[in-house]
Structure formats: structure tokens, C-alpha cells
Amino acid sequence: MVLTSSLVIITALIIIDLIPIYRDQQWKAFFVYCFFLTIFLILAVLMEYNVKIPSPAEPIRSIVSFIFGFEQS
């Protein structure tokens, strides 16, 4: 489900946004755009195949607990 909907969004974004950026030869924007879209696609593929994606919430909780001396719940 997530991969299908992501592919629809990516196709729409390429048509609406990416092709005009390419035509305008805005290379920096083009590469950043492609980079973000690639990560977006990778995340969608991983989620589709139920691969656990690391969340920053837990490491941040550990760091905060370590610095401020909380007990981890």
C-alpha cells in the first residue's frame, strides 16, 4: 500500500516539479530534489517489506535520560 501510493506521488512530483526544474537547468535544486525523492522511495520500499526503520525517538530518549539522569521507562 505504502509503495503504491508513494509511486503515484513520485510520478506526480516528477511531472509537476522535477521536469520544469530540469528544463530551467537549476542543477542544485534538481539534485537536492532527486536526493529527497530517492530517500522517500527507499523508505517506501523498506516499509512495504516491513523492514523496521530506526526512529530517532529512542536514541534521543537515551541521551536525554543519560544527561538529566532520568530512569528509562
Binding site: 505504502v2 508513494s6 506521488i9 512530483l13 535544486a29 529527497f36 526503520i53 525517538a57 544527561i67
Partner: protein, 372 residues
Amino acid sequence: MYKEIISQKQAIVLMITFIIGSNTILVMGGKSKQDIWIAVIFAIAAACVLVAVYARIAKLFPEKHLFEILDILFGKVFGRIIVLFFAWYLFHIGAAIVKNISEFIRIISLDSTPVCIISLMTGIVIAYAVRSGLEVMGRLISIIFPIWITGTLVLTILSIGQYDINRLKPVLYEGLEPVISDAFRLFALPFAETVVFLCFAGSFQRKSSPYKIYYYSLLVGGFYLAIVVARTVMMIGADNLSMFMYPLYVTARLIRVGNFLEKIELISAVLIISCTFTKATVYLFSFTKGVAYLFNIRDYHRIAAPSVFLASIYSIPLYESAIEMIKWAQDIFPYYSIPFQIILPVAVWITAEIKLRKNKNTTAENPQNQAM
């Protein structure tokens, strides 16, 4: 590319909506229970001090946004490293708010819909808003705001019959400690979050005063929250406050006028979603601007859509459940945000004051040297 400008009124309205945007999480009962409205007032008082720093930074650097200011003060390399960290913070919290919206929608109505669909659909709306730019956002909020205030007033008036003032008692029964603990949490979320507005402080109209923008928004948004919190406590009581997932929504559900007007929680749901949507837009707008600045992209609108979609898809694995997210926001977020909400702005302010004084001294000394 032309410079986006928003008027003082639009900036105030945007900031008020931003402050109120956390109400879904905010009303969750903390340690202070029925005294939570006092905690909100304490948090406003504490935020008044910090907001002065934000406003001073905006005043010192008119027509400059935070990323430019960091570059000016800390140099190209160190400045950009800070921008990178700040952009991460914006991305992370932006994604968390998208998660907040999608979980709220899923829990209250679309319980069979996969959360990824809700997140991506939310992403479409936010991406469109960010892509349209700050001016459009400012105008949109100016139109929505009166409707939004009317909706809140209608809910408040219709629920008057269910208020029980005794639910606010006993006042300060457990002392000041729980109130101060909750005040710290409320200080970080939502009041000190207004640091995000420094990312587009350069777009404030030249004649507008950052102090007015920050203080009006803080006071109006803050007291609004205090009233909403007190209203919720008076309706469902402090013990029930921590039992319900979204107390604000639940209180709207209880409203019943005779036999003909009931189930008007939809108004509350629309209000909650629209405010939270504004908050997510502001965060992801600032993130997009930060990324554009990092890569020297002149037109940030160009990269708005993939930035927002990246945040919306990353919001799915960010927290496993809404409860975990709310707990994280209550327990960890206030500490996590200290470097971005307090340390960074204070460091920027002190450095800016020192640099400006040095500049003043050198310009004052130069004419003397020239005369000699």
C-alpha cells in the same frame, strides 16, 4: 526571486494559530491535575523572558532569517553546521506533528485506513501550502482565523451548562512542585517553539515590530490555552483528563443542547486539525528554507514538495503509537529542545550584541583617527 513579506497582523495570527496548534497534546493531564491552568500561566510568564530574546534577534537583524544570521555571526563553516542541526530539529518535529495529525484522524474517524495513506494525504496538503509560500499561508490564516475563533466561542458557550467550577478545586493542593514541572513542559511546548518564526523573521514587514508580534501572539495564544484547559477540566475533571487520548475532542462530544443539537465534535475536530496543520506547515516551511539555504538554492519553493513528503513518510515509523508519541512529547521533548529553543537563541543574541557593540566602537573610533 521576489522577497516574501507578511504583515504584522498576518504574522500575529499565524503565531497564535501555531501556539494553539499543540492543543491536542497539551491538554493531556500532567502532574498538576486540576491546577494545569496555573501551569499554563506560569509557562506564559517564563516564555515572556525568552520571547524577548527572539524578538531582539529579529529586531537586530531586520530582513534576515535565522540561517543568514547564523552565517553572519558564526562564519560560513560553523554557521552551516548549526543550520544543519537546526534543520534536523525542524524536520524531526515537523514529521512528529504530521504523525500527530494522522494519528488523530485515524483514531477519531478513519480507524480502518492504513496510517501511511493518511500521512501521505496530509503531506499533500502541507506540501501544497509550503509550495505556495509564506504570503499565501499568511492570507489563508487571516481568513480562517475569525471562523476558527467563532467555532471555539460556539463550543465554549454551548458547553457552559456542563461546567462545574468545583472541579478546579482544591487549588494547589499538592503544592507548587507539580505545577512548576508542568509549566516547564508547557514552556517548551508550545511557547518556546516560536523560535521557529526566526526562520522567516526576514519576511516580517519592515515597519512591523517583532516585539509586538511575539508578545501579542504569546499573550493571546497563551491565555486562550489557559481558558481551554480550564474549560476542559471544568467539564470532565482532572482525573478524566489523563484518561482520554484527546480530551478537547471528548469535551466537544459531551456538548448537547436539548434534543436537537448534539454530536458537534466535528467542529472541534476541524479546529484541531486545522491548527495542527498550520503548525506542521510552519515547521516544514522552515525546514525547506533551511535546506535551500544549506545548498544555496535561491528558490526554496522548488524543493518544498519532496521535503514535505520525506517528512510525512518518515512520520510513520517515528513513533509506534499515538500514546508513545504523546509520552515522548511530554517527557523528552522539553529537554531535547533546550539546545534549539534556549541555548542557540541566547548564544545568537549574546554574540550579536557583542559584535554590534564592537562595530559601533570601531565606527566611533574611526572618525577620530581620521581627524588625527
